[in-house]
């Protein structure tokens, strides 16, 4: 008797063969599409795979040319990997578990250029991609913090300095100041004019003629007088007394006229009179160009604050993505016991449990160079224990990458511990000997040429359930000087200031503890260095400017004084002439009176 039903067996074999052929022909394409779709969902931008090959013999998958675009810059790749290769264990696959003992990732690079945009068509954009609580928190906190940075007093001060440097013009400064010395010259001039006029009026108003005639008459009568009788003697005596009285009056007038002459003939030295006013003018103008008081604590906050906040935001975003795909562990351990069911009971035996996804080890090699022509740091390292259920694997995800070339060194360590509900994520990054260009700090007149610096960076990013702490120490060394001949105008001052800074350190921290407030602290010795350099240069420049101001103010005031003196000279001469004439007349009559009185003796 034929035991086997061959028709059924053949049919079954044919069906299995067809399924196998279908898989061989189309499985790679289907898997490629699935990886691209899930990758695009995760990163929110285009994911490309050049080549994907699976082998059923040892359940291996080889992926060549894996590129995921950066959703923040569609013309850059977030990651660019030359080759990924791994073997999947067959047995767990039947339980829908992906277990990879070892994976190799070769030629890992990031931020490489893309020829085409990595933006997803609108209909393919993931609609419900959830932002982590940190991302949400950070967005609001970032806006607040950046606004705070822009309102820092140092920003105002810097703007003030910039304005001062840009608009420094001695003539305009003096003109705008309204010199008191010029006003003083005008005031002195008016006073002198009044004085001359009052003397002129006084001299003109003296009533000499009558008295002179009277004195002449009396002197004449005395010279002709005869003493024939007592009455003649008494009459002569009376005239002598009268003449003496007149002489006394003339003496007083002469004193007055001499005083006036002395007063008027005194040198008109307006410059001398306004000397003190000129000094106060110079001080007043110099005060305007003195160095404003700088808060040395927050120059670096202004310069590095927004950059740091953006960098922290980016890091938190990517760690949040990682967090999103690593489920939190549970503190409750599964109790293995007999379960009561409606249909029988399940007896649970000791099970070799696998998470849905387990990659025990990934060997990573890559470079920091963005293109193949560029020289970067070749690095290699290990990522261990990636799993969808860290509590089951009972080991945290660890990351160790290290590399160096003759100049630069890179060391990255990471730990993502999601074994319990209190997850902890930590990444430590150390770069030494990097080019300043890697920090993408926009050129700034107030900063030295940071792009030319050798930069050492040590950063730590810690995340837990309640908040995060990010800190970074950046050392800028061997900063080259700006070429002064390429800088024009007042920016030369700034270039001189920044050229004096050859190195500086920056320490940045950003943390939240209560998931509400973002505390960003930035400290740097560039604050003091900039302040010292500004003070040094400005002191020299201010002193130079003060000398110029002094000279200029003096010139202006003296020119005005000379002009006034010249215009007053005519009036002065006229007054003097009049006074001298009067003096001569009075002296003449006094001589006549004196002679007449002598004869009577």
């Amino acid at each position: 008797m034929k035991i086997i039903r061959w028709s059924f067996l053949l049919t079954t074999i044919i069906i299995i063969a067809l399924i196998t052929i279908f898989n061989i022909l189309f499985f790679d394409k289907i898997l490629k599409k699935a990886i691209i779709a899930s990758g695009q969902f995760a990163v929110g931008a285009k994911v490309e795979i050049d080549y994907l090959k699976t082998s059923f013999k040892n359940c291996s998958i080889t992926i060549n040319g894996f590129r995921a675009a950066d959703k923040n810059n569609y013309f850059k790749n977030l990651v660019d990997i030359e080759k990924i290769k791994f073997d999947v264990r067959f047995a767990p696959l039947l339980r829908k578990k992906v277990v990879i003992d070892e994976m190799s990732v070769d030629g890992l690079r990031w931020q490489t250029d893309r020829k085409t945009s990595g933006e997803l068509p609108k209909k393919e954009k993931p609609k419900n991609q959830q932002e982590s609580k940190f991302s949400k928190l950070f967005k609001s906190a970032k806006d607040k913090t950046v606004t705070e940075f822009n309102n820092l007093p140092s920003v105002e001060t810097f703007n003030k300095i910039q304005g001062q440097v840009n608009n420094f013009d001695i003539n305009k400064l003096i003109e705008d100041s309204g010199l008191s010395s010029i006003k003083e010259v005008e005031k002195v001039s008016a006073e002198l004019q009044n004085k001359y006029k009052s003397y002129q009026d006084k001299v003109n108003n003296f009533n000499y003629e009558e008295k002179i005639n009277k004195a002449k008459t009396l002197a004449d009568e005395l010279s002709k007088s005869k003493f024939g009788s007592l009455a003649d003697i008494a009459n002569t005596a009376k005239k002598v007394n009268e003449l003496k009285t007149i002489k006394k009056e003339f003496d007083d007038i002469l004193v007055e006229l001499n005083n006036a002459k002395k007063d008027v003939s005194a040198t008109v030295d307006v410059t001398k009179q306004i000397k003190n006013t000129i000094a106060s003018d110079v001080n007043m103008i110099c005060e305007k160009i003195s160095i404003p008081t700088l808060n040395t604590k927050n120059i670096s906050q202004m310069l590095f604050g927004p950059k740091w906040v953006n960098r922290v935001e980016k890091t938190i975003y990517y760690i949040s993505i990682i967090k999103q795909y690593i489920p939190e562990g549970s503190d409750e351990k599964k109790v293995k016991e007999v379960k009561q069911r409606a249909l029988g009971r399940d007896i649970i035996f000791k099970e070799l449990l696998y998470p849905s996804l387990l990659i025990s080890k990934i060997n990573v090699t890559g470079t920091t160079a963005k293109t193949k022509e560029e020289t970067g740091i070749d690095f290699s390292g290990l990522i261990k224990n990636i799993s969808s259920s860290p509590s089951l694997v009972n080991a945290p995800i660890t990351l160790e990458l290290a590399g160096n070339n003759s100049i630069q060194k890179i060391n990255v360590t990471g730990l993502f511990d999601h074994r319990t509900k209190d997850s902890k994520d930590n990444i430590k990054v150390e770069f030494t000997g990097l080019s300043g260009t890697i920090l993408n700090i926009e050129p700034n007149d107030y900063l030295p040429l940071v792009d030319t610096a050798n930069v050492d960076v040590a950063g730590t990013f810690d995340l837990n359930n309640s908040g995060f702490l990010c800190s970074s120490d950046i050392a800028f060394k061997n900063i080259k000087e700006k070429a002064l001949n390429t800088v024009e105008g007042n920016l030369k001052y700034l270039a001189q200031i920044t050229n004096s800074i050859k190195s500086f350190d920056v320490n940045l921290t950003a943390q939240t503890q209560d998931s509400e407030n973002l505390d960003v602290k930035i400290n740097s010795d560039i604050d003091k260095k900039l302040y010292d350099a500004i003070s040094k240069l400005f002191s020299a420049k201010v002193n130079e400017a003060k000398d110029k101001i002094k000279q200029k103010v003096n010139e202006l005031a003296q020119a005005k004084a000379k002009e006034i003196e010249k215009s007053l000279q005519g009036q002065k001469d006229e007054v003097l002439k009049q006074i001298t004439g009067k003096i001569d007349a009075v002296e003449g009559i006094e001589k006549i009176i004196t002679d007449a009185l002598k004869k009577q003796k």
Partner: protein, 169 residues
């Protein structure tokens, strides 16, 4: 329609000259198919039935009969299965099975599944003997009488007509 099909299959088994051994094996394996509640195990048993030259109609008849019987027998299978699964020296074997790639899909660790499977295996020989003896006795003593029944004639005619249509197609 389902009842009609069952009736037709019964008529085919009893009224034709199919080998009693094939019918007996089909009945015995079909009984296990009916007793075991797990779908994956049912699928495996069905493939076995289909692969071997046993009578599929007899298997379906046994499946239907024992599926109904199993509702009443589940508490008994639960007790049997629990005892078997708790045999201490077999624990290592069960653990090994439990961690094999495909075997856990059979839910062998369920008391009713294990109890019903063991019961089905134990019942293979009695089922075969009973089925074979009943068939032989029927064909010897009762087939002639039954073939004269109107219902049997109609069913036989329907079966013949169906076969002719199949051949013509």
């Amino acid at each position: 329609m389902f009842l009609l099909k069952i009736l037709k299959q019964i008529v085919v088994i009893f009224q034709t000259d199919i080998s009693p051994n094939q019918v007996a094996w089909g009945f015995a394996l079909g009984a296990i198919l009916g007793l075991v509640p797990n779908m994956f195990m049912k699928l495996v048993l069905f493939i076995i039935i289909m692969m071997f030259r046993v009578n599929v109609s007899a298997a379906f008849v046994a499946w239907a009969i024992y599926e109904i019987l199993s509702f009443a027998l589940d508490p008994l299978f639960d007790v049997i299965g629990y005892q078997i699964l708790n045999i201490s020296f077999l624990n290592a074997f069960y653990t090994w099975l439990y961690n094999l790639p495909v075997i856990p899909f059979t839910k062998f660790n369920n008391t009713v599944v294990m109890g019903s499977l063991i019961a089905g295996i134990i019942l293979i020989i009695p089922n075969m003997i009973i089925a074979k003896k009943l068939l032989v006795y029927y064909r010897t003593h009762l087939r002639e009488k039954v073939s004269k029944w109107k219902i049997v004639k109609i069913l036989t005619a329907t079966i013949l007509a169906t076969n002719v249509v199949k051949i013509v197609k």
